[in-house]
Structures are given as C-alpha cells and as structure tokens.
C-alpha cells in the first residue's frame, strides 16, 4: 500500500477546472515535486492535501485512511509557505513551539524539541528574536523548523525558496535536501522552478493545465519527456516541427524542412497525424563539426559566456539552434563563423505533435 495516494483528484471553481483527474502515489520518505507553470493547478493540489480546499471529486488517502474528511488541523501536515507565514508577534522559539503547544506537549519536552528543531536549521542563537528582525533566509529556516517540529506525516513546501536570492536559494536547496533525507519525512514540493524540482526531488510530477503530464525521476523526465510540454518546460531544448519519412530498423528518418536525419522510433501518435512530430534536441547534445562536415550547416550568430559553459545561437536551415558547450578552454567557434552541427541520432527525441502553446 502506498503511503500517500491521490486518486482521480479534481477541483473545480465554478466553471474553471483547476485540477482534473489527478493520480499520484507517494512512498514513505519520498521527495516529490509538483512542477508546472503558474496556473497549472499545483498549488490547488497542495491546498487539497493540506485540507484548505475540498476536492470536487476524487480521494486522498494516507496509509489507506481517508484524508478528505479530516480537518486541516487534524491532518498532522507541516507546511512551509512562500511568504514564510511566521507569527509576527511571537519570537522564533514561540513560533516553533506553537504546534507543540497545540498538541499539548509538556513544557520541558516542548523546549527540548524546539531547541532540537532550531539546531537542525542552525538558528539556536536566534531563538529570542522576532521574525521582523531576521533575513529572508533565516525566516525560511524558522518556517521549516516550525513545520518539522511537529514530526509531520507529510511536509508540504509551497514555493519555499522563491523569495530568496539565487545564491541563497542554492544553499537552501542543498540544506533542505539534507534535512529531508536525515529526517526521512515524506515531502511534497510545489514549484515552478524546474532546476529546483530536479535538484531536490526523487521524482518530479509535471503538471500542465490542471493535469498531470508525467511523473518520473528527474533524469528520466529530462531525458525522455513524454510530451512536447515536458520537453520544453524542463531545461532548454531545440524544438522543431518535423515529419517522419520512413521507419527503419530500430528508428526512423525524419525531415525538418529540407533537412533529413535519423532518429529513434516515432511515438505511436505520429502515424495518426500523417507523420507529423515534434523533434526535440537538447542544446548540450549538439556538437560542432568543421564547416561542411555536419548533419546541418550553420553560422554562429551569437555567443554568450556563462562561466561554466558557452551558449551559442547558430543560424541553420532548421532555424536558430541553441548549442551548449562546456567551458573547457577558449571558445570553439567565433561569432559569425561557419560551422557544422551534428548529434547522436539516439539523442534526438520525437514527441507527439502539439501546436506551439
């Protein structure tokens, strides 16, 4: 039996369907991200798990127990909000102790557990401070300690790092992942940030327009997206509209405009659509060849230095292709220079055709 099970979960607000027929199972101790653009229904799903929204249809069970009928305050779920949502009139220690007070934990035990939780987030020294006298990162830690101190069945994180600056965000990501693994708490993170989702999660659940599109571990979702949307939303990709020319043993030949190249077998949907497919090639899978020796020829229109890698825009008959190369010395191609582009046919992904969203 799965730990947390969402089945056919649906939420409608009047005419608008926020979440539709959402199925997900989460194992004990797992870290799952709900990932998608704003308005995809991820926050609504989180609110339903937390008990702040009632599902229109479907069920939520925790170890086989129905959660929908349980009030939010009895669900034993810890939540960290994007706005931190600390109690401004209470000190850090009082904030963290609140959930224990509600559980009628004896004062001595309460104090011990508050200290423990604050130590976990390295805030022992600030126990007596008020939230307004703290930085964003510190407040976020208090919120995390407050949610964890009650030893929740599930930890829900609602865009917890979005308000932090980039460097602090990376630090907090590592720390969050460390704490989650040490405590072994089942965690669901809601985020629109695909790098955050990939960095933290055991599995990502990509949502689009209220529906779950793909659930997979981050590498799998990145390398083998099921749809055009997942492929474009997770990382950068070169998205081309193509047509399957002929099937071959172990793959097919695909045409984009006048150019043809080899690719893995097309998705089943391609046959129905007259062979139309979306061709997705990740920029880091594209390699440079001397001019005239590539699968496609082009001209380097722009080059951006990003520290650990170079990002090139190459004008080709297929359109402008992005190419990412590791920074292993000076740039391989000058701006304006002619260059050939090539890739391993196995790295091409053919996806069911969808009109550009």
């Amino acid at each position: 039996m799965a730990f947390l099970e969402l089945t056919g979960l649906t939420k409608r607000f009047g005419e608008v369907t926020a979440v539709e027929d959402f199925d997900l199972t989460v194992e004990r101790g797992e870290f799952v991200s709900l990932l998608g653009p704003s308005g995809c229904g991820k926050t609504t799903t989180l609110q339903m798990i937390a008990g702040f929204e009632q599902p229109t249809a479907g069920s939520i069970t925790l170890e086989g127990r129905d959660l929908v009928a349980v009030k939010a305050r009895n669900r034993g779920i810890g939540i960290v909000f994007q706005s931190y949502a600390l109690f401004p009139h209470m000190t850090v220690a009082q904030n963290v102790a609140f959930g224990l007070e509600m559980r009628k934990v004896a004062p001595a035990e309460r104090q011990r557990r508050v200290e423990q939780a604050l130590a976990l987030v390295h805030l022992e020294a600030l126990a007596g401070r008020y939230p307004r006298a703290m930085s964003g990162g510190q407040r976020q830690r208090v919120a995390l300690a407050r949610a964890l101190v009650i030893e929740p069945e599930i930890l829900l994180l609602d865009e917890p790092l979005s308000n932090l600056d980039a460097k602090l965000r990376e630090e907090m990501q590592l720390e969050l992942r460390g704490i989650q693994q040490r405590m072994g708490v089942t965690t669901i993170l809601v985020t629109h940030d695909q790098t955050e989702a990939m960095a933290l999660s055991d599995r990502v659940a990509v949502m689009h327009r209220g529906r779950l599109v793909q659930v997979a571990d981050p590498l799998q979702a990145y390398e083998n997206p099921l749809t055009d949307f997942v492929s474009s939303f997770l990382g950068k990709t070169n998205r081309l509209e193509g047509r399957v020319l002929e099937r071959q043993s172990g793959g097919c030949r695909v045409a984009v405009g006048e150019t043809t190249f080899e690719a893995p077998p097309p998705p089943d949907e391609a046959a129905a659509g007259g062979g139309r497919v979306i061709v997705s090639i990740r920029p880091e899978k594209v390699e440079f060849r001397p001019a005239g020796a590539g699968l496609v020829e082009g001209r380097a229109a722009a080059r951006i230095f990003l520290g650990d890698h170079w990002l090139y825009q190459v004008e080709t008959p297929l359109g402008v292709l992005l190419v990412i190369r590791q920074n292993a010395g000076p740039a391989e191609v000058e701006t304006g220079g002619s260059v050939g582009l090539a890739w391993d046919p196995a790295q091409v992904r053919l996806l069911p055709y969808e009109a550009q969203a």
Binding site: R73, G78, M102
Partner: protein, 266 residues
C-alpha cells in the same frame, strides 16, 4: 528626507498655530483670578481649578462620561471586530450593504440621530438610562473602530492563519493567538478613537440624558448657557490634559502614527 521650503514651513507653522490657538486660549483663561472670561489672564490663579472640586455635579458628570466612554467603546469594539473580519476578507451577498449600514452614523446628521435615538429609547423605556446611553454611543462610534480594524484586517496575510491551522489550532485558537494579536494595533487605536469620540459627544447625547446620567459635555453646555464664569475653561483644561495624557500613554504602548495613519512602523 527632503527639507521643506520656507513656504511649506510657514504653512505648517500657521496650521499648527490655528489648531492649537483655541486650546491655548482656553488654558490661559482657566488661570484667571477674575470671575469672568478674560484673555490674556490678568494674573495667575488656580481659583477656578479649586472651584471644580466645589461643584460635585461636574465631577459626577465626568465619571459618567468616563464610564460611558469605556462601556460604549468596548461594546462597539466587540461589534466591530467580527464585522471587520467578515467584511474585510469574505465575499458574501449584502457585504456592501452591511458596510454602509455600519458606517451610516457618520453620514446621518447627528441631530437627526439624536431625535431618532430619543424616540427609540422612549419606546423601550430606556430613555435617560446608562444602558440606553451606552447603546446609542456604541452605535455612533462603531464606524471609527470599524475603519481602523478594517484597515489592519485587509493587510493581513491569510497564510499565517492557515499555518496556525495546519499546526493544529482550532478556529477560535487561531483567532485568539494569531489573528487578534496581529490586528491589535487597529483594535486599540479604534477603541481609543471611539472612547474620545464618546467622551466629548454632545449633539446626540443631549437628547437622551436625564439629570442622573448627564455627561460632562452636556453638563458644560448647560452651564455656559446660564453663566460665563471661567469654570468651563478650567474643566476644559483638565479634559485637554487628560486626553493628552491618554494619547501619550498610547504612543508609548503602540505608536500613534501607526495606529491612526497605519503602516508597519516600530
């Protein structure tokens, strides 16, 4: 911070003089040794302050005003806080009507209100009673509290209450431990404003008092229609000092600008 130019300074100075001049005059007059109103006073004497003690009916009236202010401000607060919570963050049919209803004492001419209250209280046999006065004052001062509490409610981050709920707090505990402390500046500010409004209310009150429940403003008003001795000035001075003291206390506790103007502060 930008410095004000000479004209802005002049304007501000004139404004302050205009606002405080009557108070200065009243306080000056109260120090006169003479038996009539004169300004500037020809000498300095506490004669008319001693006179207050010889007029127990003024002191009784002051106590009634004080009790009335506390009772009606507290009653109005109990009404206004739930109303502000409902109006401030729920959408329901009749919300605008409810808000307009609570605010209406500000728009109805006070003399009309006075006559209406008189009629109303007579109907229930409450005319001239302290209970009747309290009810009418509570209605009259509710808008002041409602406005301030509403301002602090609308700025409230609801996820804070959700966080408390998910930590296991019941609805009432959320209100008592989280919501109320967060809107407290608005509640206290509203209470003080309401208390002061009740304390010096005359137009409405004059219709609904009887000799045993005469408030200080009504008593003063009655006094100056008969005589013009400086007793009214000395009593006014005491009231002014009392109000200033109250404001000072609130300022120390909460910060006046935060209460009356709003915003973060502290």
């Amino acid at each position: 911070m930008t410095r004000n130019g000479p004209f802005a300074f002049l304007f501000s100075a004139l404004f302050v003089v205009f606002m405080t001049a009557p108070l200065v005059v009243v306080m000056g007059v109260s120090l006169t040794p003479e038996g009539f109103l004169e300004f500037p006073p020809s000498g300095l004497s506490l004669r008319w302050f001693r006179a207050i003690l010889e007029n127990p009916d003024f002191i009784d009236a002051a106590w009634i005003s004080l009790y009335l202010g506390i009772a009606s401000a507290s009653l109005a607060t109990v009404l206004a806080v739930p109303a502000a919570l409902a109006i401030g963050r729920r959408r329901f049919a009749g919300r605008d009507f409810l808000l307009a209803l609570f605010m209406s004492p500000l728009t109805v001419p006070t003399i009309v209100l006075g006559i209406a209250f008189l009629r109303f209280l007579s109907q229930f046999g409450l005319n001239g009673t302290f209970v009747g006065l309290t009810l009418c004052h509570a209605i009259f001062i509710t808008p002041f509290i409602l406005r301030l509490v509403l301002a602090s409610v609308t700025g409230l981050d609801r996820t804070i209450e959700k966080a408390a709920e998910s930590l296991g707090a019941s609805d009432f505990t959320v209100f008592r431990r989280v919501t109320l402390p967060m809107i407290m500046p608005g509640v206290v500010g509203g209470w003080v404003l309401a208390f002061i409004t009740s304390f010096d209310e005359l137009t409405v009150t004059v219709f609904i008092v009887n000799p045993s429940t005469t408030t200080l403003p009504v008593r003063l008003f009655a006094h100056i229609t008969q005589t013009t001795d400086p007793l009214v000035a000395s009593i006014s001075t005491v009231v002014i000092l009392f109000t200033v003291g109250l404001m000072f206390l609130i300022e120390r506790l909460y910060g006046l600008d935060r209460l009356l103007v709003g915003g973060e502060g502290r």
